[in-house]
Amino acid sequence: MGARLALEASAARLVGRLSRAAGRGGGTTLPGKLVWKLDPAAVDALAARLDQGVALVSGTNGKTTTTAMASSILAPTRTLAWNNSGANLASGIASTLLDADGADLGLLEVDEFALPELMRRTHPRVVCLGNLFRDQLDRYGELEHIAERWRDAVAGLAPEATLVANADDPLVAGLAEGRESRLLFGVDDPRRARNGLQHASDSKYCIRCGHPYRYDAAYVGHLGAYRCEACGHGRPPLDVAAREIEPDGLDGVSFELHAPDGSVRVRLAVPGLYNVYNALAAASLGLSLGVALDDVVAGLERFRAAFGRFERFSVGDRGFLLLLVKNPAGANEALRTLEEGGVPPVLVVALNDRIADGRDVSWIWDVDFEPVLEGAEHIVVSGERAAELALRFTYAGFPCERLELVSDLQAALDRGLELTPTGGELAVLPTYTAMLELRAIATERGLTRPYWERDGR
């Protein structure tokens, strides 16, 4: 470490300790913010300290879970610099790198918008791109705009670096076209396909000629086996694939993982087809870093749940399931998983509209809540924009008398638990900042997590 970097690093760490000492949260990003502000190039130098280089993970949905799964795969053999708190902007990543004394590999979840700059600065060995869905249009702008930025960033990626990309997403797979060092993953199990594309699907027109794609199988949103009947563009061959997928209610899902070196059955302890995609992304990342297939599988099977994403808590004789919802595609998969596992009788849905949630709340109308509304007995709507949720559900036909509006999150959680029968599990679906608040409430109350305890790095 150069003298200037050492000085900046120690000053920034001091700020982090002061911040924690002052009780201002975990002090997660404050040191990084300082470094980022003082000298953004320090990130280049901090990343260069890692002997085994850096792996970056990005995409609209699943990047936190994918990165957590990858950490489960890599942790036995590597010392990781991993931003597991979800601080995925440049400043958060700078903080993670600052704290990474002794780490040999960077495993970094990166915000879609921040990815190009972090690719330039960290010179990654592997970049893993999961998917692109419409998300927080008020903050990110349109999908094409993000794809354009990614295209430029991938063009600047070192030829020896591996691009891990989701073949089932036309925009993402398109980024890997013509690249030699790449690993493409996807789902190959038409039995698990949906009946056609969902409402408000993205990327349904051919990236080359604009003709609508024909889907032989659509799995999650617009992710699937697509081809254009006009120009012939279609899903590229899969290097890593999931076949013979068997859901196991809300308890998990198993599948056959086909990789270049063989195939092994994997049993994930989290449910949902979207988690199969996350597992494929993490497995491909692990394989591209030289982890043996059996070790990849063992890592995936050890994984339990990422922060606020399908976390289960027990409260006396009841439980609750915390399931982040943040955009139509992600919310649809969360709801589909609930539906397949049996819709819980009581749901708390919480909508905030801060910057991290998206200030534009119109996306809730693009979520297919209807099947879950049919199965639910009671819904408590909460958060700063609870009334908008109430309108979403009542205009969908959910009866007013089974809907309650409790703006305060703590009160809404308690009311939801009260309505939940003994031995039952309440489903809590919050947006990002509401999720943080609910987790804080759970931690404050010392709620135990029955299936796992969050393990350190």
Binding site: L137, D138, W365, E384, R385
Partner: protein, 251 residues
């Protein structure tokens, strides 16, 4: 009474939860004993003036909008004739732009519009994004408030004498400069406001529905029976407060 709705290009123009607006029309019509029949009108679907009591045009991403723009422009005569014949129309965001005379891109390119609304839109350098609050300038409801969310790069400039939908209380509006938002021609209303627009502005949904009913019966518009709108009012109040505290600040 059956109210026939033509929903234009629903699979292309659906970015800001346009189906929320349709859901509001449907349920509020049903509450008054009317049945809404929604026909998708898409590329190559024939459209006759008078075949629908209400036309709806939503917003899309740039790529999708460009795909349907020539088709929509070619229907200009039909749409103008429908509105002259008393059909109601609601156009939101991209649909509002595309129903004007045209859109001037940053590179000077010209995208022909359908020519219903007397305005032109110029691509701006920055997007105007945020919560918005309007005070209606519609003759039927002067001063009533409309709360929504805007997200547009286009600056829409109304012709002299053209009627806006409202005066901007907070937010950017048509072009971030004029102090007005939207455009109204006959029973056609165009606006940048989504969120979606109608759930938290139910009076506007009812006004459009009353026009559609009038078109269906051939009579004069009559106010619809009021509905209990406590949730709508609560949502409106929060959205209006958001616009006042954090809506866009025109330069």
């Amino acid at each position: 009474m059956i109210i026939r709705v033509g929903h234009l290009y629903p699979e292309y123009l659906n970015i800001y939860a346009d189906r929320g607006n349709i859901a509001v029309f449907t349920r509020r019509a049903a509450a008054r004993g009317h049945e809404l029949r929604v026909d998708p009108v898409t590329l190559d679907t024939p459209l006759e003036p008078g075949s629908h009591d209400l036309l709806y045009v939503g917003g899309g991403q740039d790529r999708e909008q460009a795909m349907i723009a020539p088709d929509l422009a070619a229907r200009g005569d039909t749409i103008r004739a429908a509105v002259e014949g008393g059909a109601a129309l609601l156009a939101v965001c991209g649909g509002y732009q595309l129903l004007g005379r045209g859109y001037r891109g940053r590179d000077g390119s010209w995208l022909e519009g359908a020519g219903l609304f007397p305005h032109e839109t110029l691509a701006g350098e920055t997007r105007m994004i945020g919560d918005v609050l309007l005070e209606s300038t519609l003759d039927e409801a002067p001063g009533r408030t409309i709360a929504g969310f805007e997200n547009h790069a286009g600056r829409t400039v109304l012709d002299p004498g053209a009627k806006p939908v409202g005066r901007v209380v907070a937010g950017y509006g048509n072009d971030g400069a004029s102090g007005f938002e939207g455009c109204r021609v006959g029973r056609a209303v165009g606006t940048y406001l989504h969120g979606p627009l109608l759930p938290r502005n139910p009076w506007l949904a009812d006004l459009l529905l009353s026009w559609a009913v009038a078109h269906a019966t051939g009579g004069d518009p009559e106010a619809l029976a009021p509905l209990p709108d406590e949730l709508e009012e609560a949502a409106h109040a929060v959205a209006a407060a958001r616009a006042r505290s954090r809506g866009g600040k025109p330069a």
